[in-house]
Amino acid sequence: MLFKLSFKNMKKSIKDYGIYFLTLVLGVAIFYMFNSLDSQEAMLKVSTSQRQIIQLMIEMLAYVSVFVAVILGLLIVYANNFLINRRKREFGIYMTLGMGKRQISKIILLETIFVGMISLVIGLVIGIFASQFMSIFVSKLFEADMSKFEFVFSKTACVKTCVYFAIMYVAVMVFNTFTISRYKLINLLNSAKKNEKIKMKNPVLSILVFLGATILLGFAYWKVTIDAHNLNSGDKILQVILMGIVGTVLVFWSLSGFILRIVQSMKKTYLKDTNMFVLRQINNKINTTIVSMSVICLMLFMTMTILSSSLALRNTMQRDLLEMTPVDLNLYKTAYLPEKTTNRSGKEIIYTEAQRQDSRVSIQHTLESNGFDMNLLKDVEEIPIYTDKNLTWEKFFGAKIEKIKAKFPYLQYNTPEELIKISDYNRIAKLYGNQEYELKENEYVMLCDFDSQEEIRNEVLKDGNYPLEIAGKTYIAKYQECKSGFVVMSTSHTNTGIILVPDSCNLTDEMAEMYFLAANYNAVTEEEKAEIEKIFTGKEESTILNNVYEKGLQLDGLSKISIIEASVGLATMITFIAIYLGIIFLIASSAILALKQLTESSDNKQRYTILRKIGCDEKMIHMALFRQIGIFFGMPLILATIHSVFGIQYALSVLSGVASTKDLLPSVIATVVVMGMIYGAYFMATYLGSKNIIKEENF
């Protein structure tokens, strides 16, 4: 009997369940999709040389999934709570018929299980199919090899999804039982009649609060943009976040009263069509929705900021990549090894004679003598990089060292500065296509493109003619700032400092810290290049690597291919987690808004009936409804957009050097498209649902 009742109930209230159901299905599908990544063929294909990053990504996704599960759990409890409230009267009738609270709980329990099971199954099916498309999307997006397509089913993801959602449903059940146990029959039966007391706010107070909130937000915006460099400690950031939250809540507290006041004074707009009614509706309802509006706004804000800045980060990384990897291969080898040395942890290292011998010859020599055919390389340039024991970072900063140490206490100030002769550098720069420099006999140039390092170095250089003692002679800086440039390739701008000195500088062979070699593979096609690459990366078949390894030679290197692969992996990871979180936040906020509006529409049914009775035609009524819901969806979106404009700027300034504003536009467009689709879908679903609710049968 109870079974039948709950089944019938569900069928009856299918319209109410619509959005709840949609949210559950979407939640399950997305949860599955992102957790099934580990078993996707396409992902494994990319990863021959970067399994570690993929592994890291899967681990991170697992942690993020716990967070996501908490959000979804809260969302489901919330949505469910709305449904229960809608049916208070029904429960009241059951109770007058003599049904106990336990039995009512049981009905709801059965319903939760029904809906849960169905949505889980449908969600999983959608998730499984969608994840196939996602593998294609992923491989396209991240230049992965997608040579063969296979239908992937991840058992672990499936089980994980089921377990997580089962836990959420149990939470919902516990919550429901608790809610039901608190109900009193009289309240249940009268719930429909209970009229919401209309609280009207003092309009003057509204305006004052609104202005206050605007100032507060403006101050927070100023803090994160113009004043961002002062935002360097956790509690300062927390302050700004708190300001943002309080400002947002206050804006929603006062906004409707403020707007109402403004529009009321514009008689022409106020006294037109149903404007008056719509405004009053909003003013009436927003009082009860301040908290949820604020939460929705902040969630939208997070979605926008996370999506935009992570996509920008990814784009920057990929663009930087091309700029930062001008040649196929970089090799470097420590020069002039001493007999013994102590490493950082204080352990003594003794170098063999063979190692020391090798450290006195060029990289080319090492390669050839270990069986490498130099004809496989072209455009070979090899240079020594020197250091002067007396010239460390500490020395470079000179008098300003204390100030800089206070600001950046964790830098290794005893690191020696790297020195390169100008003609050597120019050879490399020519090969890379970078700017070449000329120096007078007493000049030097500081090359540095790592943002924070560049900033503190400029601090010293800006005074002009900054003198530096190099190898016993004093030189002065040619420029009042760091110049950009690099020698060793990397994924982004990470050159912390190289000093270019005139060729005449007294740098002895013993001062050489390492040899550096840059070259291109002597090949045309990608396949040929990959073949040469194998000699440096493939562990088993490469004789040169085996030799270097056995003799313990200090030869190391980087290749364009490996840098790009690693970078693609990193970018993939960041983007994935961002998209995952972003979409979950988006679904959560849209669903909350939609549910709220739907419940309100049924409360408002009577008001719309009155409108109809006094002669509004359907078109006008639909227009009024559309505008009412539109404004409710629009308000948090607009405020969130304004927040994001500043939030993204701050996010980019934190990621400075890694993400750049140039890449913002496409990622903002992508974000807008994604948001428009999900948010818009919920908006339309809400509008249509509400229209259905206020429709009168005999009309």
Partner: protein
């Protein structure tokens, strides 16, 4: 009443108001007719609780797209006639039942309808408020010349009318016209008819 007010449709027959057969109107034509030719007063007021009295009245005009510079004068004018000028800025929940019904009446008449349909307008009012309202109706009828069609079970309320049609079980039972009678005489006539209306002999066993 619902058929007359075009809220419901007739299954047979015709309703002719002002030489127009309203049973033949459809959809938005109906809405237009209702908006422009009829005014409604309901037992439970049907005021929008989110709007002030002023706005409730003005809404009837704004949905007819009356220019906004005419609205203010019209609302104040009609409010004065029904004596609710002082409560125009109050919300429905802040005023008494009688005042609410007068606000509703203002809303009904502000559009100068051909006919005002009043469905048990005094049903939710106490006798004092009912009398005030009925007196306002009377003046509306006499001064503005609007036709008021009122449905009621109350003989006292009915005695304010000029012409009464008794309906029993869906059929017209009797008709009374006030003519030159005073209201007291008319009231007594109504009571007589009501006694007759009470039932056939067969009903009392």
């Amino acid at each position: 009443m619902n058929c007359l007010s075009t809220i419901d449709r007739v299954t047979a027959g015709h309703i002719i108001i002002n030489q127009q057969d309203i049973t033949k109107l459809k959809g938005n034509q109906l809405n237009k007719f209702r908006r422009e030719e009829l005014g409604f007063i309901f037992q439970d007021f049907n005021l929008l609780d989110t709007l002030t009295a002023y706005e409730n009245i003005a809404l009837a005009l704004t949905i007819q797209r009356v220019p906004e510079n005419e609205i203010d004068a019209k609302v104040k004018n009609v409010a004065e006639k029904l004596g609710i000028t002082s409560i125009l800025n109050k919300y429905p929940y802040q005023v008494s039942g009688g005042q609410k019904q007068r606000i509703a009446s203002c809303r009904a008449i502000i559009t100068n309808p051909k006919m005002i349909l009043a469905d048990e307008p005094t049903g939710a009012l106490d006798s004092k408020a009912a009398r005030q309202l009925l007196e306002s109706f009377e003046s509306l009828n006499q001064k503005l010349g609007s036709t008021i069609l009122m449905v009621t079970h109350d003989a006292f309320t009915a005695s304010y009318a000029e012409r009464i049609i008794f309906i029993k079980d869906g059929k017209i039972f009797n008709e009374l016209v006030k003519g030159i009678d005073t209201r007291k005489q008319f009231f007594e006539k109504i009571i007589e008819v009501q006694t007759l209306l009470g039932g056939d002999l067969n009903d009392v066993i």
